[in-house]
């Protein structure tokens, strides 16, 4: 799958991003030549983001295992990182690919893309009082698989609908529909 640069993900940068990117490119080159310490620095920098992506996409139960898989895969594919994009962008897309590949074994593949609004009702029930409002992250976790994955990829990670449709094997219209259903459900769990 072609590596692309997600929009929002690209925008979430620190002011000294250029220096960080250069240092990470250097670490990636060192790691590609077998330097474990350089790879550990890359791991420390990116583990929170990778783990959060995995947790939001597949839930907490398998997050540790799949996050490990991401870094093992990254180590094995370091030679393909050429520094054209930031290492974080490359790693992020690799992580998405690992997660999507695991959907089959986790039973969250394409067949579970229910396009109806009804399936969101259990998430969408408006809490009786603000203090009962569940955590926004928890609400995301309770979305149906399809709506959750589209929401995470689009609104949190910044991918476009055509990219998401390609990654998930769905049509663009389904991606848009799932996103809207997810947003409609989650708006009931906003802090008030």
């Amino acid at each position: 799958m072609e590596l692309t640069t997600p929009g929002v993900a690209t925008l979430r940068r620190d002011p000294d991003q250029r220096a960080l990117r250069d240092a990470e490119t250097a670490d990636a080159a060192l790691a590609a030549s077998g330097d474990g310490r350089a790879f550990e620095r890359l791991y420390r920098t990116h583990v929170a983001r990778v783990h959060s992506l995995v947790r939001r996409m597949v839930g907490p139960d398998h997050a540790d295992d799949i996050a490990q898989d991401v870094f093992v895969r990254a180590w094995n594919k370091l030679a393909t990182f050429r520094g054209d994009a930031a290492f974080g962008t490359w790693l992020h897309r690799l992580a998405v690919n690992v997660i999507l590949a695991r959907r089959t074994t986790l039973g969250t593949e394409r067949g579970r893309y229910d396009d109806s609004a009804d399936v969101l009702d259990d998430v969408a029930g408006r809490p009786a009082a603000p203090e009962l409002s569940m955590d926004f992250e928890e609400a995301i976790g309770r979305l149906p698989d399809g709506a959750r994955q589209v929401f995470v990829l689009h609104d949190i990670e910044g991918y476009r609908h055509d990219e998401i449709a390609d990654m998930l094997g769905i049509v663009t219209g389904t991606s848009k529909s799932q996103l809207h259903h997810a947003r409609m459900a989650l708006r009931r769990h906003l802090d008030r």
């Binding site: 929002v8 240092a23 490119t25 250097a26 790879f39 583990v47 983001r49 609104d155 989650l186």
Partner: protein
């Protein structure tokens, strides 16, 4: 309350409606309080999503990752300290190296256009290309260098001795830069500038060897 426009609010928010659709929806919003409220809530969902903080795993995954990729214990865990701390002499040395490399690269580029297309006779005492074993510990780098040097050695007869001398001279400059960076890194392993400098020089060496091997027509 839900109407025919409610399901288009996300597309409106994301700028995915056509101009006529957008105009019509905006006219509708002006008169529909329910849709205005829903639109604002959806907008807040998007804002919340983009503001979510990333959280690390509850337990450190590195030991398991390190074990799975076969790293030995001595290669593990040094605290990550990113800082820029280098001396003026280091910077001066880097400047000199960069200047020399630029000159060498320019010379090679110019020279490249004059390489004969047919093999030429090589003096018996043609210079010997540098040994690849100078950087123990970087196995993949060493392997690539060795591979390229073998390829270059096979096609060396197609280069004139002046070209070989230039290649050697530039390789020596790069080797010195690599050794200097390695020496400095031994004292300050987390120095990001030095890590970057070392990686750049290693890449530069590989690129020079690739170019030289291509010149020699020794690589497929």
């Amino acid at each position: 309350m839900k109407d025919q426009w409610t399901d288009r609010l996300s597309e409106y928010l994301d700028g995915e409606l056509t101009a006529p659709e957008r105009t019509t929806l905006e006219a509708h919003l002006a008169s529909c309080e329910g849709c205005r409220t829903t639109l604002e809530e959806v907008r807040r969902v998007v804002t919340n999503a983009r503001a979510l903080d990333d959280r690390p795993p509850a337990a450190d995954l590195w030991p398991a990752v390190a074990a799975r990729i076969g790293l030995s214990p001595r290669e593990k865990a040094r605290p990550v300290v990113r800082r820029f701390s280098f001396t003026v002499p280091q910077l001066a040395a880097a400047s000199v190296v960069l200047a020399l490399l630029s000159a060498g690269a320019a010379w090679l580029i110019v020279r490249r256009g004059t390489v004969p297309t047919a093999p030429v006779a090589v003096a018996e005492r043609a210079p010997v290309l540098l040994n690849a074993s100078a950087y123990p510990g970087d196995a993949r780098f060493d392997a690539q260098v060795a591979d390229l040097e073998r390829a270059l050695a096979r096609g060396r007869g197609r280069l004139d001795t002046a070209t070989v001398r230039v290649i050697e001279r530039n390789l020596r400059i790069i080797d010195r830069a690599i050794r200097g960076a390695q020496s400095a890194l031994a004292a300050d392993p987390a120095n990001s500038y030095l890590n970057l400098h070392l990686a750049q020089e290693m890449r530069r060496k590989l690129e020079l060897l690739r170019q030289a091997a291509t010149l020699a027509g020794a690589r497929s």
